[in-house]
Amino acid sequence: MDIKEIVEKIVSSVRTKEERDVTLTGLRIVESSIFQKSAEHLSRELVKAGVPTDIGRRLLDAAEGEPLKNHVPRGEFFKALKKTLEELLVLRLEISFEPREKIMDKLKSWAEREIEKGIIFDLTLDRSISGGAKLSFQGRYREYTFENLISSALSSKREEITKLIS
């Protein structure tokens, strides 16, 4: 398994901006202490830093695992991973509910499927929205909320509605 595949594997498990930040934090910890501390110790530190277990495991595996042990220099790996993580594009979503793991997986799957470049999500709860989402991406902004949907529907059906109520 080359660096690219390992990096892709790690990056594919990063769904949100928050996860990216903790991954980078974990990477920093691992990069700085890989030869000074044991795996167990590093594992504890990663947990302490809030790095999700699976990401932490992957990082450690990537740092000490077979692929790297044999042919891949760790420095390049850390560098490539960091670069890839930092290049991920952030899609900000304001939604009306607390996102579950399931929706985050669905969103990540959709993004990997529909959009070429790597995208992670920055999910925010907005109680003023009754349904749908507000999107911000690369300086662009759209609202796909119920309010907009209803307004559009009312506008397109205005004449009919006016006839009904008059």
């Binding site: 959709w110 349904g131 999107l135 690369q138 759209r142 119920f146 309010e147 209803i150 009312l154």
Partner: protein, 278 residues
């Protein structure tokens, strides 16, 4: 205070040698007849006081002369007897003189009285005649004057009536003329006023009509605008209500999966609209 020898009042003469003069006056009065009243209120006696004094003076003068003559004839012892005799003579003479003077004065007084009476009678006569004449003259004059006044007043009345008539005619003519002028003026004024009023009413009517049209137009316009505004607000309100209700209903009626599905649909829509184009 009486000053002897002076006129102390306009009617009173106080002669000198007061007491002697009073005695003389008494003497004169004694030999005078009662006084009468002359016309015009003068104090009248048959002789005047001056004449009385003159006569008295004459008597006394004669007496004095006799005495002097007797005294000069002889200043002898027998003067006293002579004198007595002479005084007796003188007395007799004086008595005679006094009697003659008395008689004379009586005659004078009678004459004066007669004269006075005559004068009185004449005066009375004259007065009576004068009075009669005066009365006649006055009567004639009064009659003439009353006739003259009567004529004058008749003339005056006639003239006055004529003047009055003339004045009345002139006045009536003036009044009539003035009335005619006023009537004409009033007629003209009324006619002009009527015309002006008519024009004014027409003008006012037109203006009012214009104004009413304008106001009506403004009112209609404002009503339309208001109606439009209100309808617009009503529409907006309805849509807002619909939106609110729909939002609330939709939001609460969807399940978690449906909400998640809506989010995914939103992403799909965004992709379709080119939201994720690089």
């Amino acid at each position: 205070m009486e000053v002897p020898g002076k006129y102390n009042s306009p009617t009173q003469f106080t002669p000198p040698f007061g007491n002697a003069m009073r005695f003389c006056r008494r003497v004169i009065a004694a030999v005078s007849l009662p006084q009468g009243i002359m016309p015009y209120g003068q104090r009248a006696g048959f002789i005047s006081e001056t004449t009385g004094f003159f006569l008295l003076g004459l008597v006394l003068g004669a007496l004095a002369t006799v005495l002097i003559i007797l005294y000069r004839r002889g200043r002898t012892e027998r003067f006293s007897i002579d004198m007595e005799d002479r005084f007796k003579d003188v007395r007799e003479v004086a008595d005679e003189i006094i009697t003659s003077v008395h008689r004379e004065s009586l005659r004078t007084m009678e004459g004066a009285q007669k004269q006075a009476l005559e004068m009185l009678r004449t005066t009375a006569l004259y007065r009576s005649e004068a009075e009669k004449k005066m009365e006649r003259v006055l009567e004639e004059h009064s009659q003439r004057e009353s006739e003259r006044l009567s004529r004058a007043s008749e003339e005056f009345l006639r003239s006055y009536h004529l003047s009055l008539e003339d004045a009345k005619k002139i006045y009536l003519a003036s009044v009539k003329k003035m009335n005619d002028l006023m009537a004409e003026e009033t007629r003209r004024g009324l006619s002009e006023f009527r015309e002006e009023l008519k024009k004014e009413i027409e003008r006012y009517g037109l203006e009012t009509e214009e104004e009413i049209k304008k106001v009506r137009g403004d009112a209609f316009r404002k009503i339309e605008e208001y109606t439009r505004e209100k309808l617009k607000k009503v529409d907006e309100s309805i849509y807002q209500v619909l939106a609110l209700v729909s939002k609330e209903v939709l939001g609460k009626s969807l399940s978690m999966e449906e909400h998640e599905e809506v989010v995914l649909r939103a992403l799909e829509e965004a992709k379709r609209e080119g939201f994720f184009k690089f």
